[in-house]
Symmetry: C2
Subunit: 304 residues, 2 copies
């Protein structure tokens, strides 16, 4: 049995545990806050590794950012992590093998191996949170692209309404289908549509209507909230049908906070109604909060 | 050396030749017209195979339509081929192995093995003709999806201007970025924009302005033609940057009739200016008119 120290690097917290090659936890998950400067961060990584090194065969990191094709470094900007993060050569942190993978890719691998897409060699995990992330399994292998940056599906352009994304580009799918996107749609409809006048939110400022307000409004039968949510849902569906037509996957797994607000059967029907490939299933994620750690551990086992 | 009888099934012509496992032609390409009824078509396939069967190890078909995951049958509608085409079990046509692949997928494989993307394990071939087709190579393997229908990139939705595609869906990339799409854009601009009044085509009916007129107008410095072509180019770029963000490919190969009208460096710059992954190269195809036959033959060699 292979034992992997899996470390999830978040902007505020580091989480870590020992996981085996079946994706089972052999220890409790421990947490510590993420140091704000790079020397402390590297030292914390080393301390965690030294503390566990005798009990493990390798270390696997799940991290924000694009990871290079050798799985040793982070290549892209990571605004929530200290300056210098891109200079860390993870392979030097331990005497034993070290593996790094992007957290969305790792989570997708976890859904494939122990979650909602077990045995389905063509599947996609889409994370709907503050942004939109994706991990793509093609013929049983993780899609990484030439540089390791593949899978940036939040940045595909849809529908041309001209919304400016947080990345300053126009019309990124993520600017519509994320939680932030729902809030932005709520604002636009509140400003541009008479329907707000009969809404329970008619006295709120447009930019103060939250994602939670819309979800709550849905439950209360508020027509404005329904309209906002339907636009958001259609934007979600457009991206899902685009990737379905390209990948012809068995399943799309939806993870992230926004997942709990959607009816997966309704979304699947809408997608399947428009695609030209064979029907896709849409399921909620079930590998859990530590999917990134599990996926990184399992990918590391596969590599070493 | 493996010898493959490669047959390209077109709506009007069947082309065939013997090709080896290096993609080299061992015979001239012969052609015959495509029979209009299914019994004659099957008989023609059998005749071609019998005529060559002693000299070959296997047969490979490149065909329109989605091919099943076993590479033995065509699953989708093929309007230019006789009714009953979907019932043909290609594996029964010969005593020796028979392989079938979609022509766009086969052409992409040819570009990868003997064309413009040799040695680049992540590459995409986009065919810009009457429609828009795609073949995707991911980590050195052809993307086929769960059912063999993967790669239907002409059907991804872009920009939301609401154009109705020939498939009756709205906003398919193919309805904008194909040759037909350029003609449609020409019509829309001629109807909706004052710029037509000073154009060399001001006396033509909007729906009679052809793709060729626009290309010719470009050479003559016609502002209307430039405007139409720039809109078409932007629509092309939007789709290319979407697939680049997802696949992070080394190269996108452009094949098909519209390829000769674009400046690949200009397109590559525009795409690379907007993507979040590493820069992509854009090249014209060079596996030639028989890329489908070559790719099908090479894929068959790999399978058998």
């Amino acid at each position: 049995m292979t034992k992997v120290l899996a470390i999830d690097v978040g902007g505020t917290k580091l989480s870590y545990a020992i996981i085996n090659d079946n994706g089972e936890f052999l220890s409790e998950v421990k947490k510590t806050s993420t140091p704000k400067n790079i020397e402390e961060l590297v030292q914390t990584f080393k301390n965690i590794i030294v503390e566990n090194e005798n009990d493990i065969d390798m270390t696997a990191f799940a991290t924000a950012g694009a990871v290079n094709i050798e799985n040793t470094k982070v290549d892209s900007s990571t605004p929530n992590l200290p300056k210098g993060y891109n200079d860390i050569d993870f392979s030097t942190l331990s005497k034993k093998p070290v593996f790094v993978e992007n957290d969305a890719n790792a989570a997708a691998w976890a859904e494939y191996k122990v979650g909602s897409a077990i045995g389905e060699d063509n599947n996609i995990t889409i994370t709907l949170g503050t942004g939109v992330g994706g991990g793509f399994i093609v013929g049983g292998r993780l899609l990484r692209g030439k540089s390791g940056r593949g899978g940036e599906v939040g940045s595909i352009k849809i529908n041309g309404r001209g919304r400016i994304c947080t990345c300053n580009r126009k019309d990124c799918w993520e600017s519509y289908a994320s939680g932030t996107g729902l809030k932005k749609t709520a604002e636009e409809v509140a400003i541009g549509d008479e329907i707000i006048k009969t809404s329970i939110y008619k006295d709120k400022k447009a930019q103060e209507i939250t994602t939670y307000d819309i979800i709550d409004g849905l439950k209360k039968g508020d027509e404005y909230s329904k309209k906002v949510f339907n636009i958001w849902k259609q934007d979600l569906i457009t991206g899902l049908l685009n990737i379905t037509n390209i990948f012809d996957p068995e399943t799309i797994v939806i993870s992230g906070g926004m997942g709990e607000f959607i009816d997966t059967d309704e979304i699947a029907n809408a997608v399947n109604n428009e695609i030209v490939v064979a029907p896709v299933k849409i399921k909620l994620a079930k590998a859990g909060n530590y999917a990134g750690m599990i996926g990184a551990a399992l990918l590391a086992c596969q590599k070493y």
